[in-house]
Amino acid sequence: MKNLHVKLATLGLVLMCTAVEAAAEVVMVVGRNSPIQSLSRHDITDIFLGNATSLPNVGKVTPLDQGDESVRAEFYQDFTGRNLSQIKTHWARNIFTGRGYPPKAVNSIDELKSLLQRNPKAIAYVRPEKVDESMRVLTLK
């Protein structure tokens, strides 16, 4: 019974967020036990571009990139208005001045799930159809 509730709740969240983010090709997700509740688009841009490393009341967060180029391209185009070359340029400026490295990239949905489960402060983006009960979709402020 409890399981069913969770599933329904997840489904509800997924449907809700898909509706809210109808235009977006990706949704932001965290692990089920994550203390991260909701984020603004500005927060997400800052975290994924390395301009911010922590969130108020949460602490240090860990962004996760997608190894899949098309998903990654969609995410950065949607949130930053930049293509992958421009994102690479941004990171070249940071890496070669000792200011940081891009998010770790995950190469499979299983790896992503495992990382989200192990690290409640990890944030990732996925295609909506990849969301399952191990993840919680973040609402965007």
Partner: protein
Amino acid sequence: MRQTLCNGSLSLIATLVACPAVAEVASLKENQPPVHSELSFARELKDMFRFSGFGTLGVAGSDEDRADFVSTITQPHGPGYTRDWTAALDSRLGVQLTFLPTDKFSAVVQVTTEQEWDNSWEPDIEWAFVQYDLTSNLSIRAGRMVVPLFMFSEFRKVGFALPWVRPPGEFYFVPYHTSDGLGVLFKHNFGDVRYTFYGTYGQDDSRLHEGIHSKWRQGFSLSNTFEYKDTSFRASYSSAKMTFEERDDALALFKTFGPQGDAIYDEFSLRDREYTQLAFGIWHNPGKWFAGGEWSRGFSDSYIQPGDTWYITSGYRFNKLTPYLMYSKTRRDHGSTPQLSGPPATVGPLNDFLFALTGPLRQSTITVGTRWDFAENAAFKVQLDHIMTEENSNSLLWNVQPDFDFGDSVNVLSFTVDFVF
């Protein structure tokens, strides 16, 4: 080319890398049960090291055969007088090893190889520092670091990170880029405005064009950047005491000409002379296009002429192609150039030398080019620079032959492939 202090920085880093205490602290932290689950992102030894690199393969040609175009003050020659086409103007390679044993501590060593003053490609240490994050917003650094003179200074060699083939010559042609000493980084958000401070204090020893020993002492640079959405504004202040050994030795010859020569030497002596610079920059990049520029004013009572330098640039992105335009201009002048009076056969060459050293420097360049992002980590660029020299002025051209007419223009065409890995 900078042997004096790099050994020190290297051994410091070697000690830290080898330091068992650091490794122990790191492993202790990671062997704890995953109460705080971010620790379960165990930082294994292989994750503590990051290896990255960048490079440019380029070829450039000039339509001028009486003077060379160069892109740094170190290069001995470039396309033009020495040869029509050269790969040495823009080609270079850089590799970087970053050591990240804990969340708070890091060490970076970056080595670059490019054409040096003596035609060698001897590797040079660009960065070699250890950094400790006191808080998430405040970090301190010790070692060699690039001085934040201008907006693009810190990554001026990383072609892939630049919209153009190279930063504008009029602006970035300075004899001083790195500092061995201390650095401070601080960031703070004022509402939606992100503020970043980067300050360095230290000294530099390097070899310039013709092997000149350049020494900078008590050099500090304070850079402030304010970013709001897609716009950033930057203001910086830099100062140092400079010495150019061989140039000063040559200038000392003037002392053999009595009081007038003494006066000239005293005014333009190239030993421990203060140079100060203010620079402002603005940049806007919403993703689809960019526009920006920088302006700087130099204050000096010797050698490097005081004056203003600025550039403006803009580009528009058509998917993978980003054509751009730039205009840069420098006007530096001591006001009057002293002349030694005496028999022309004797004082003529000395006066020419003095003019080359202290005379006005006026030059402007129109640049047009395009960047093609043909791969995620590589870009091809083609760029045309139209360099306009002025009469009764020096220029930033090298190996200028006696039959070169100041006032003439020089065209330089460059093709580069920039990559990062």
